[in-house]
């Protein structure tokens, strides 16, 4: 495997040359805008009936994926979830091949065989999004097991939603990871809702208490503040890379959209006022934008320019995907076995 990346920070840190603070956070801003506008396009493709099936949008949670992936090396591993577009983009995936995958096209990351919930990419260390809730906890822990045994000092980040706290396999692998001091970070994205049910209705005790029980290092962070996520994740990743062991990070965040693109009428499980409050007061892109302006790293017009550029990039990526060919039907039974 010969990883390449579009992530300038990863390239520079690989070269041992840290980017300036301004460059780092402007890059993080652009990454978050990319995820937001990618998801806008996905919703648009769905409503125009151009996308087969459904998709689960990451809008509102951008600071978690970006804050954490900006602290990773390109050869570090991630596993993702059914709500995975943000993780894939933050780890360096290209929007054009992602859209192609969402449309089931041959040029997609998985030749159209995976779709929205299964994007995987060895070049960016993406072991795959997973459509079984909690389904990737073993894979991420296994990647950390391999990293430790092969001595290549990689770490693995396991993204999952708070809904996965209901799955027993999570507790089996956290026990193994702590026993064997594996370099894995369990990132619990608490977006408040297990599909259509508030997490307090499904989760006894505390979230962090679960990891505490295994003696795993834990932390909690405002998942709408990309700088806070990045700082705390950076410490936990460094700690894991040095061989001390796993960590569990709870990121409190919010899912702007429904469980999936078709979940439009949501008032039976959450109010419009609640949704609006998160969007108005705690939007992760606004939070970082305000800080960039306060620090005079940027100004409103320059940030607007980023939105404009990213929007153009997404439009051209969608065009690429729409024009791309479907895989040939003869391919249906290829890749069953290696």
């Amino acid at each position: 495997m010969n990883p390449v990346t579009s992530n300038p920070e990863a390239r520079e840190s690989a070269a041992g040359k840290p980017a300036t603070e301004k460059d780092r956070w402007l890059h993080a801003y652009r990454q978050m805008v990319s995820i937001r506008l990618f998801e806008e396009q996905v919703n648009d493709l769905y409503t125009r009936a151009l996308m087969p099936g459904l998709a689960h949008l990451y809008s509102g949670e951008e600071a978690v994926a970006v804050g954490i992936c900006e602290a990773l090396r390109v050869d570090d591993y991630i596993t993702s979830t059914h709500r995975g577009h943000g993780h894939c983009l933050a780890k360096g995936a290209s929007p054009d091949r992602m859209f192609a995958e969402l449309l089931g096209k041959e040029t997609g990351y998985c030749r159209g065989k995976g779709g929205s919930m299964h994007i995987a990419d060895p070049a960016t260390g993406n072991l795959g999004a997973n459509a079984i809730v909690g389904g990737s906890v073993g894979i991420a822990t296994g990647a950390a097991f391999a990293a430790k045994n092969l001595g290549n000092d990689r770490v693995a980040v396991c993204f999952f939603g708070e809904g996965a706290l209901g799955q027993g396999s999570l507790y089996e692998v956290m026990n193994l990871a702590q026993l064997w001091k594996l370099p894995v970070i369990y990132v619990c994205e608490n977006n408040q809702y297990n599909e259509y049910t508030h997490f307090q209705e499904t989760t006894a005790g505390t979230i962090l208490g679960r990891a505490h029980a295994f003696g795993i290092e834990t932390d909690i962070v405002d998942g709408q503040d990309v700088r806070a996520v990045n700082k705390i994740a950076g410490g936990l990743i460094k700690r894991a890379r040095s061989g001390v062991g796993p960590a569990f990070l709870q990121c409190d965040t919010y899912r702007y959209s429904g469980h999936h693109v078709g979940d439009i009428n949501r008032e039976y499980y959450r109010s419009k006022q609640e949704e609006q409050a998160w969007k108005s007061d705690r939007d992760p892109i606004k939070v970082l934008g305000s800080w960039l302006i306060e620090q005079r790293h940027s100004d409103a017009a320059s940030l607007e320019e980023i939105w404009y550029e990213v929007r153009k990039e997404m439009e051209s990526a969608v065009k690429f995907a729409i024009e791309a060919p479907y895989p040939k039907v003869e391919e249906v039974d290829q890749h069953v076995y290696a």
Partner: protein
């Protein structure tokens, strides 16, 4: 010099040791696999040679350590997981069926899962309903997995080495009643390809297609049938997937009578699939409908006379074959 003989368990252990010496990425994960060498003592001595980093005792967490093996296989290791009793594969089903089996396909061929799951099958050990099942049909049903059913020490060594070298997830079922069975096993580094059946005994009047534990039963029945003047061919598919359909169909065409034997439950099982393959491929050459013999459709009972009634025996196979050949 007489041929060297090993037990089935020794052949399994030799295959593992040779592959671990050949390839430092091969490791073993499972419950009591290290100093204990498993309850069946199949792995005795391996931790002493390869150390606790490569022969890894795990907690009693089948889903957890199987999931770890999937991720480790994707990222450069060649793990062999040990599931002590085949009944416990139920605890690993999401990891094997939704993860290991599908990763290569779902990723458009980008990721691979070169792992082996070793587990056991077989009744008559007086272990009751949760330690006696033969669930090979479950994994044989899933695209993306390969399933191996060795029936002799020779096959166990050669097939396990192939399984470990395979780039796909392979499930390797060992009959726990066969661990002490002895047979010739060369000291050489030989492999047996997955997907090649073996004719264990040649004959002209009837074919017994048998897997794993049922191969010895079929060979015993064939001896008895020989005395009655019935010449019996015994064919061992050795893997349920990939499946060597041609050898099965050729034998059916040659003898025109077939009984299929597998220790899994008869309903919706391995015997049903093999019988269908033969019926589709050799229908016009058959003198009788293909007969299936598997475990009775009951949970395996504890009480010895009840348990013994649930699985095919030399005597029940003899009677079925005699009847099919018109010799009452």
């Amino acid at each position: 010099m007489p041929e060297r003989e090993l037990t089935f368990a020794q052949a399994v252990r030799e295959a593992l040791a040779e592959e671990m010496r050949r390839d430092s990425r091969v490791c073993i994960l499972g419950e009591d696999v290290a100093e204990a060498g498993t309850p069946f003592k199949v792995l005795s001595g391996l931790v002493e040679e390869f150390g606790a980093k490569r022969v890894v005792d795990t907690p009693i967490s089948e889903a957890g350590f199987t999931g770890v093996a999937v991720g480790a296989a994707m990222t450069g290791m060649r793990p062999v997981v040990d599931i002590m009793f085949g009944d416990f594969i139920t605890l690993t089903m999401d990891q094997m069926v939704n993860q290991a089996a599908k990763v290569h396909y779902m990723s458009g061929g980008h990721w691979k899962v070169p792992m082996v799951m070793r587990t056991t099958l077989g009744a008559t050990r007086r272990s009751a309903a949760q330690h006696s099942q033969s669930l090979q049909a479950w994994f044989s049903h899933v695209p993306g997995l390969k399933v191996v059913l060795p029936s002799t020490p020779y096959d166990a060594k050669g097939l396990l080495k192939s399984a470990i070298r395979d780039e796909n997830p392979v499930v390797f079922f060992e009959d726990k009643m066969m661990y002490k069975l002895k047979g010739p096993v060369p000291e050489d580094d030989y492999t047996i390809p997955l997907g090649v059946a073996d004719v264990k005994r040649e004959g002209d009047d009837i074919t017994l297609v048998a897997t794993s534990s049922m191969v010895q039963v079929a060979l015993g029945a064939a001896e008895l049938l020989e005395k009655e003047g019935i010449s019996t061919e015994v064919v061992d598919p050795r893997t349920t997937w990939p499946l060597d359909e041609k050898t099965l169909i050729d034998s059916a065409k040659k003898t025109s009578r077939v009984i299929v034997l597998d220790e899994g439950y008869g309903r919706y099982g391995v015997t049903a699939e093999l019988a269908a393959v033969i019926a589709e491929g050799a229908f016009y050459d058959l003198d009788a409908p293909v007969k299936r013999m598997g475990a009775m459709h009951v949970p395996i009972p504890f009480s010895p006379p009840l348990e013994d009634a649930t699985v095919p025996t030399e005597q029940t196979v003899l009677e079925a074959a005699r009847s099919m050949c018109g010799n009452q």
